[in-house]
Symmetry: C2
Subunit: 182 residues, 2 copies
Amino acid sequence: MDHEQRLLDAAGDLFYRRGVQAVGMDEIRAASGVSLKRLYQCFPSKEALVVAYLRRRDERWMASLTAYVADAGDRIPAVFAWLERWFAEDDFRGCGFANAFAELGAGSAAVRTAVREHKERLRAYLRSLAEEAGAGDPGLLAEQLLTLIDGATVTAMISEEPGAARSAGQAAAALVHRHRRP
Amino acid sequence: MDHEQRLLDAAGDLFYRRGVQAVGMDEIRAASGVSLKRLYQCFPSKEALVVAYLRRRDERWMASLTAYVADAGDRIPAVFAWLERWFAEDDFRGCGFANAFAELGAGSAAVRTAVREHKERLRAYLRSLAEEAGAGDPGLLAEQLLTLIDGATVTAMISEEPGAARSAGQAAAALVHRHRRP
DNA sequence: TAGCGTAGAGAACGATCGTTCTCCGCGGCA
DNA sequence: TGCCGCGGAGAACGATCGTTCTCTACGCTA
């Protein structure tokens, strides 16, 4: 495995679990086994590493969600079933993007952009699901689903109970039903 | 005005706008005009100051919301109208509690507790609104409203558009309607 | 084998953090 | 007036941060 992958593996785990500011570059070096010199050859600054972490997390998170939903019959309920499994994971600690935005959004335009791109990708995907479900206003339904997802993620992070996904899933089902009949 | 108030005013503004870790104690001293010695007499550590900031923010935030809603006819829609006004404020930067949890939750049990207490207070208030609205399962409706509020707050923070409150308010109205007829 | 380029380990650097300490000047009291 | 104690300004401290530099050891080529 090349150095960049090893660095992103170590940084991704540490940044997500403990927060970006709480993790120093030397800890990433120790966890990855990559020397500091090479670390700075791959990523010229911590900010660059954080942005790369967010981009890779976006790819993997979206890929996991879409793969799970593609295999399910009822697409939109499957989104919330996937969320519940995610919330129950041992190292779940909320939305890595919202957390990074909270930590660094005020200071780093690159982080703001990376987070917005992720949310935009998710919104577009939810819109495709809303269209497939025959919603009268798929843009509005997608926005509401996004709100339920982000809200359930915050609630699960703070309460440390994966049940937040279930009530959000019920709300989503009610909204989908609502959007079908104008 | 006494020193504690001046400190909490300055710290509250700085912590919320820029994040806790991005603000040093010396900057709080400069903004408040309170000497460093007295600062540490009032709050023996930064963590204590952060917890006091969260408690005061909880009180004021809840007081503002409940006062606004109490004056309105339709209580639950009023919650989302209040949210929209909040999102449109110049220095809006998301939920101070979720942001503090993202920054410090992994490292500070006191911060985790303060954040959970706020969310619990909000949940209890929403439950009282759900009961008043005649919901069949007020606990579930309160949980869903909380999810919509947190989700809309995250979306508004990231997108910097207050419109997130509107679609969430429409979703809330649909859910209230749903809960009335089983 | 001699010379060279490279890579890793980790010391070093300047900045900044939370926290404590020192010093000085001012007000109350005999 | 002389003394004492308190409070403020800010220097100082040790730790740690992101980043760079030095030194050493090794592999390749002639």
